[in-house]
């Protein structure tokens, strides 16, 4: 017994972690490497004249990436070094670079798995205008940490002393880790963008892949190619790039920077030792022993097989029971109906779990994922031997399919050849419909893996051109209250297509999912595991649910008020009543339809006997000048092709008349957009209609002026007003 205790103590003493310990010899080595005997590039302090008004300029930047398998031992090493030399020009830059924060090194010990460590090294120095150098020392650092149980994360915070305008800050930051691994291993993918938030005079990127490690690498969006240098295949292969005079990039709206900015994508991997077990995604990386590679689409075939296990032990047995109870064991005739049925079942399954005291053996991180959805549908389709493809889709905002390199760039989808049209599943959330395909997928290419067959061949699937069904239709009945200078508005919103998502998150509460649950259809399969056993638990749970529903309703009113203010660009809005007519969550009523009664004084300005009514403000507010004035680098991408129509029906108070109706009539159109406005007077009513259309959601950057023009037109229309006044007009002038 004593021996067992001693062994236990010995074991415990060999397990554990230590923090904040850096290898001082290595730190010294790195310091010398970065700061001693450096080339001319690291001594420059002048910036090109064209960048003199910038906040800061990166004079030189070097990034070095290195991976290696340690000889004889089952260890991998990874290093990522960044070294920058930045000229600090103004107060903004002083503030940005006055404090730094770096993670602290960590070391893990384990008797059986050896030790692994993650080291961070850094150094900062300030170079004054006279060339003198001041190295930031220990006294400028402080240690902060957060710990929970036996886990701890530490940071070093550094205040940079004596930093002034015109100084150059020279710093390096290195991450080096070593860990035990003899299986196939993919290192984290790295996206190295050539643009930074400051202009760059010169930058270098070096990738060194040593001993038994391999690399996938791709230069995209006109980024220069990595050149192979100093290669000794037995030891290491080195790739290198020098880039000069790169402008800064500032965030742009309506843009997909990831798919357009020049970038070097790379990912290293280790193919595993002799006894490595196969992993499903390994083939995606291409030939394992080829030094430099790009993604290998055929490798997706093996990966696609992993969806066979989706939902095992969780939702799949219930789903299967439900489908068999409904369709039997024979293949159903209507495949589309079957696919949609599975989809709705899964959506409801995940929607309802939160209303159960004890959920159905499922974890929330599996809810509403495409892996679970596609996996579930695919397994049922296989059961009925229905051919279908798993789709690996590269969304437009990531880039073209030809630029694919990383697995995380792909979204999963499913395609079944339908009789009239393809059956496609591309997204799932609590509000989504199986038939809705985001506009972003229109005509894009995806890899298709047939799900049936021993050795499926990966092919290219092209999404059909999606006709715009995105509509935002708002019909508002306006009642003018001259006494309180307020408009009372009853608006009915009908939203179809992809535009729904924006409104769904705003108006939908959990109560809707709770109320819309089809107990007759799903109640036998989707239910609370705890209901019958612990009634007290259930009662307490339901009580909280009641409070939660009530609170969500209040929050919806608040959010709606804020959203409507933002949407219309008005100062105040008071929502009096909300009524959901149709959630648009079911195929038979796929539009989101709701009514809001609200009031606002922002539309009315009263003076004398006249009241000006800002009818143009019933259109969605345009982008602000701060966005439109900026020049841009990237193409313009709207979320969807869209039609937004606004109809106003103004009821005039007894004895009042409206002027300025004719001035509202206007039509305009170009290749990408159109605006229509119409108005008429009927007895004591004024009817006004505005319609704004985005015909093409993707425009090249050269067309930015057209976008500006379009928004200027809307802005002009937004300012349109009509006058309401009593029929016998008495013009008031100041005495």
């Amino acid at each position: 017994m004593k021996n067992i205790i001693l062994f236990g103590l010995a074991l415990i003493s060999m397990l554990g972690m230590s923090y904040g310990q850096t290898d001082s010899l290595r730190a010294e080595q790195l310091r010398n490497q970065f700061w001693e005997n450096r080339s001319e590039q690291w001594t420059k302090i002048d910036i090109p004249e064209k960048w003199k008004d910038e906040s800061a300029v990166i004079l030189n930047k070097e990034t070095y990436y290195w991976v290696k398998k340690i000889p004889l031992l089952s260890f991998l090493e990874e290093q990522y070094h960044t070294h920058k030399r930045i000229k600090v020009i103004d107060d903004k830059a002083i503030k940005s670079y006055s404090e730094f924060s770096f993670a602290e090194s960590q070391k893990y010990y384990s008797l059986f798995w050896g030790s692994s460590n993650l080291h961070y090294y850094y150094g900062i120095k300030v170079i004054k205008a006279d060339g003198s150098e001041q190295i930031v020392g220990e006294s400028d650092k402080i240690h902060t940490e957060v710990k929970h149980r036996n886990r701890k994360v530490g940071y070093q915070k550094i205040a940079i002393p004596n930093l002034e305008k015109g100084d150059v800050i020279d710093y390096y930051y290195c991450m080096e880790r070593r860990f035990s691994m003899d299986q196939f291993y993919m290192f984290d993918p790295v996206r190295y963008f050539l643009n930074d938030n400051h202009p760059i005079v010169r930058q270098e990127l070096t990738l060194e892949i040593a001993r038994k490690c391999y690399l996938n690498c791709r230069s995209v969006n006109d980024a220069p190619l990595m050149k192979e240098i100093d290669t000794d295949v037995s030891k290491a292969v080195k790739y290198h790039l020098i880039d000069e005079e790169r402008e800064k990039f500032e965030n742009e709206i309506l843009a997909f920077p990831y798919s357009e900015l020049p970038c070097i994508k790379f990912q290293a991997f280790f193919p595993g030792g002799a006894f490595a077990y196969p992993v499903s995604y390994a083939d995606f990386l291409g030939e394992r022993l080829k030094m430099k590679n790009t993604a290998y689409p055929q490798g997706l075939a093996k990966l696609a097989k992993s969806v066979n296990t989706a939902g095992a032990g969780t939702f799949y047995p219930v789903l299967k029971k439900y489908i068999i109870s409904k369709y039997g064991k024979e293949r159903p005739e209507n495949v589309e109906k079957l696919v949609h049925d599975i989809y709705f079942f899964l959506r409801e399954y995940w929607c309802q779990q939160q209303f159960f005291v004890k959920n159905q053996r499922t974890n929330y991180y599996n809810w509403f994922t495409m892996y679970s959805t596609v996996g579930g549908i695919s397994r049922i389709l296989k059961m009925y031997e229905i051919k279908h493809d798993l789709l690996y889709i590269m969304p437009k905002y990531i880039g073209e399919l030809d630029d694919l390199l990383f697995l995380d760039e792909l979204n999963l989808g499913l395609h079944v050849k339908g009789e009239e049209h393809p059956i496609l599943i591309t997204k799932i959330n609590p509000y989504s419909l199986p038939s809705e395909i985001p506009d972003l997928l229109s005509e894009i290419k995806a890899y298709a893996v047939p799900s049936i067959g021993e050795n499926p061949v990966v092919s290219i699937y092209t999404f059909p051109e999606l006709k715009s069904e995105n509509e935002e239709n708002i019909v508002s009945k306006l009642k003018f209250d001259p006494e309180n200078e307020t408009l009372i508005i009853e608006s009915e919103f009908t939203i179809t297509g992809s535009s729904k998502l924006e409104w769904d998150t705003l108006v939908m509460t959990n109560k809707v999912f709770f109320d819309e649950f089809k107990t007759d259809q799903y109640g036998k399969f989707i239910n609370d595991r705890d209901k019958r056993r612990k009634p007290e638990q259930l009662r307490a749970f339901n009580e909280k649910l009641g409070v939660r529903f009530a609170d969500e309703q209040k929050k919806r009113t608040e959010s709606l008020e804020k959203y409507l203010q933002e949407f219309y660009g008005i100062q105040n809005c008071n929502v009096v009543d909300f009524k959901l007519i149709s959630s648009g969550r079911w195929t038979d009523s796929s539009s989101l339809n709701f009514k809001v009664i609200w009031e606002s004084s922002s539309y009315v300005s009263q003076f004398g006997e006249r009241s000006l009514l800002s009818v143009g403000r019933f259109m969605k507010k345009t982008l602000g000048e701060e966005f439109l004035q900026k020049d841009r680098m990237l193409d313009i991408h709207f979320k969807n092709k869209e039609v937004m129509s606004y109809e106003l029906e103004l009821e005039l108070p007894e004895g009042f008349d409206a002027k300025g109706i004719k001035e509202l009539q206007d039509n305009w159109e170009d290749d990408y957009f159109y605006i229509k406005s119409n108005s008429e007077k009927q007895a004591n009513k004024v009817i006004i209609q505005f319609e704004v259309g985005i015909k093409n959601s993707h425009l090249p950057v050269e067309e930015w002026d057209k976008v500006r023009n379009f928004f200027a037109k809307i802005s002009n229309l937004c300012e349109k007003q009509i006058v309401i006044q009593q029929r016998q007009d008495n013009i008031v002038t100041q005495e």
């Binding site: 910038e54 906040s55 020009i89 103004d90 903004k92 830059a93 002083i94 503030k95 006055s98 404090e99 400028d140 402080i142 902060t144 940490e145 957060v146 710990k147 929970h148 915070k157 205040a159 002393p161 004596n162 930093l163 002034e164 005291v357 612990k534 638990q537 009662r539 307490a540 749970f541 909280k544 009641g546 409070v547 939660r548 609170d551 209040k554 608040e558 804020k562 660009g569 100062q571 105040n572 004084s601 300005s605 003076f607 006249r610 000006l612 345009t622 000048e625 701060e626 002027k659 001035e663 200027a712 802005s715 002009n716 937004c718 300012e719 007003q721 009509i722 006058v723 002038t733 100041q734």
Partner: protein, 641 residues
């Protein structure tokens, strides 16, 4: 029969009671939720919270220690998660913590412990303990029992009645003061709150103070929140003296003398190398034409060259950094900057002194000798008959100007071995204002004309501070955006920004304003608005949820606009004057016709003060009037030819 009847009645009674209890529990949760108004967090509430404070003599013979037991019952209203934060410092440690889940009894809990990461504070000795745990729905509440000890009672200054985050239904604070300790407990901000205080003298000479409160709201965090101490009910502990085991009474912080003595102790001996500083300062003041000029040069140099980085490490932030290291590092906090200013000015032969004060975030005066009274340090310069309050943490501050956040506050100024208590007073010429002058003409339907934009005082300072966060190229864009908040408004030919932001003169910028399609034709009339060109100060709905607000500076916005009526047109209508005033705040506007010129004037003025809930409605109304007036239009008509 009667036995059966009794059994029947008993069963009915049990069933009834069971049902009733069940019903009652439901009503309690719902009614608890109903107690929370729109400003309150609705995920949970504190159903009961009791803090017991006791004092013990220190074993080491130093200052007495404070032991606190905190018992807090939290009812999650919508989910099953209960959370609680506790803060400790180098003087306060948590000694024990326990967690109980409703009826299920004690459960294990492990907090996340981390160094406080307060925005704006680089280093502090404060740590947080964050506890969180899920309970069963039937458990109804989670109870935390946390014990802590403060090793020196001078650092235990306050106890808050209300929680910072959650609504508190029932609150109790018990302070057991032993006979050997002489303290005063002062209650702050108890108006409009359901609070009671009982004092029991116990037989052994101890005194028990019991404060109870009901339905206490947590603060609503808005941009204009004036600070917890100003508005939330709390106890301030004032420690006079204590008796040692030997029977000797020893002072703690009985009066300001002792407070000052303690501050001096914290500061340590003055160690300025005046020769070194003389060399530094002489360089800074080179070219100064007179004494005032050299004082300015030093003051402005410290503002410009020393970055504000707050250090609250060690002795709760009462120990200033060494002046030389602040000079060498070019960073420091209020204490470090004041120390440097004193060193530099003293080396030049001026009478510069350190001074302690509490900003407007604190409601206390030196009638309450406690370290809670002060949270700031500045340097006070005596020059002739005048005193200058030199606060280098305020950027772009002109010599002689005073920031609103310290104006009107008592200040403790060193005076040899003694001290002086004074009040910071703004000079009469220290006025903050922003003025917009527009001279407009109509060209077709477009409105254009000159803009002159002037800033002075604190408004100018805040403007410079916001611009300094931008690169030079962004600054101009930012001004254009600021001036053109209204749709279709453009600013052109903006005069060049000064190369350096000059403190001693007012900022004056000019430009050309252009608003396309400003003149709108409706039937035979032409409508034009000229009141909405200058930027609008908004008062959003969230702000009106607050119980107390204070703007970050005095709002003093003036607009003078003239519009030349084209010869082909005549005036039909001018909006009527509008005035709304309450307390010292007002909004006034008027239109006048002078020949062919329409003159519009408006003035919005809101002083720097705390507005309470009942005044916030008036404040909202004031902004509403301003908004309405901005929407007003002038009506013109083509002249009949």
């Amino acid at each position: 029969m009667s036995d059966v009847y009794r059994k029947f009645c008993f069963t009915v009674l049990i069933v009834f009671l069971g049902f009733n209890c069940d019903l009652k529990a439901q009503v309690e949760l719902k009614s608890s939720y109903e107690l929370l108004d729109e400003s309150q967090e609705k995920d949970a509430l504190i159903e009961y919270w009791k803090t017991t404070i006791t004092f013990e003599r220190s074993k080491s013979g130093g200052m007495p220690v404070v032991k606190e037991t905190d018992l807090c019952r939290i009812v999650p209203l919508q989910n099953n998660l209960v959370m609680r934060h506790y803060f400790v410092s180098s003087h306060k440690q948590i000694t024990d913590y326990k967690f109980y889940a409703g009826g299920s009894g004690r459960k294990s809990i492990k907090p996340v412990i981390g160094d406080s990461n307060t925005p704006g504070i680089f280093q502090s000795d404060s740590k947080y303990y964050y506890f969180s745990r899920n309970i069963k729905p039937s458990d109804q509440y989670g109870k935390f029992e946390v014990k802590s000890i403060t090793d020196d009672l001078r650092f235990y200054t306050r106890a808050y009645m209300s929680d910072m985050k959650l609504f508190t239904a029932n609150r109790e604070i018990e302070v057991l003061v032993p006979a050997w300790l002489d303290i005063k407990v002062k209650l702050y901000n108890s108006d409009h709150v359901d609070l009671t205080c009982e004092v029991d003298s116990l037989p052994d000479g101890d005194v028990l103070y019991r404060y109870t409160g009901r339905n206490l709201n947590a603060p609503f965090q808005s941009d204009y929140f004036p600070g917890y101490a100003n508005v939330h009910p709390h106890l301030l502990f004032l420690y006079n003296r204590y008796r040692t085991v030997d029977g000797e009474w020893k002072p703690i912080l009985k009066n300001v003398d002792q407070l000052y003595k303690w501050y001096k102790e914290m500061r340590g001996p003055e160690q300025y190398d005046l020769e070194k500083f003389k060399a530094i300062s002489s360089d800074v003041v080179s070219g100064a034409s007179n004494q005032l000029d050299s004082i300015k040069k030093v003051f402005y140099w410290v503002q410009d060259k020393i970055r504000y980085i707050a250090f609250e490490q060690g002795i709760d932030g009462f120990c200033p950094q060494n002046a030389l290291s602040v000079y060498e590092n070019k960073y420091g906090d209020c204490k470090g900057m004041s120390n440097l200013l004193k060193a530099m000015l003293t080396s030049l032969g001026y009478d510069a002194r350190l001074a302690w004060l509490g900003t407007q975030d604190l409601p206390y005066t030196y009638k309450e000798p406690s370290i809670a009274v002060d949270n700031h340090m500045i340097c006070v310069l005596y020059q002739g008959k005048r005193k200058y309050y030199l606060d280098a943490t305020e950027k772009y501050l002109k010599l002689g100007e005073t920031a609103s956040r310290i104006n009107g506050k008592e200040i403790l100024i060193e005076n040899g071995n003694s001290f002086v208590i004074d009040t910071v007073r703004r000079s009469a010429e220290d006025i903050s204002s922003e003025t917009y002058h527009y001279q407009l003409k109509l060209k077709g339907n477009n409105l254009s004309g000159k803009l002159k934009f002037q800033l002075q005082g604190e408004a100018k300072r805040h403007f410079y501070m916001s611009l300094s966060q931008l690169s030079r190229s962004e600054q101009e864009k930012n001004i254009s955006e600021l001036m053109c908040k209204e749709d279709n408004l453009l600013l052109d030919s903006l005069s060049a920004l000064p190369a350096t932001f000059d403190r001693d003169s007012n900022l004056s910028l000019t430009g050309i304003m252009l608003k396309n399609n400003a003149l709108r034709q409706i039937a035979d009339e032409r409508y034009i608005g000229i009141a909405n060109l200058m930027p609008e100060i908004n008062f959003d709905k969230d702000t009106s949820k607050s119980r107390h607000i204070r703007f970050s500076q005095v709002i003093n916005q003036l607009n003078e606009t003239t519009l030349e009526i084209p010869e082909s047109m005549e005036l039909c209508y001018l909006p009527k004057p509008l005035v709304f005033e309450f307390d010292d705040a007002f909004y006034r506007m008027e239109y006048l016709l002078d020949g062919n010129l329409v003159k519009f004037k408006s003035h919005l003025y809101i002083p720097y003060k705390i507005y309470k809930q009942e005044q916030i409605k008036d404040l909202a109304k004031l902004f509403d009037y301003q908004h309405k007036s901005r929407k007003q239009k002038i009506i013109l008509k083509e002249k009949n030819r």
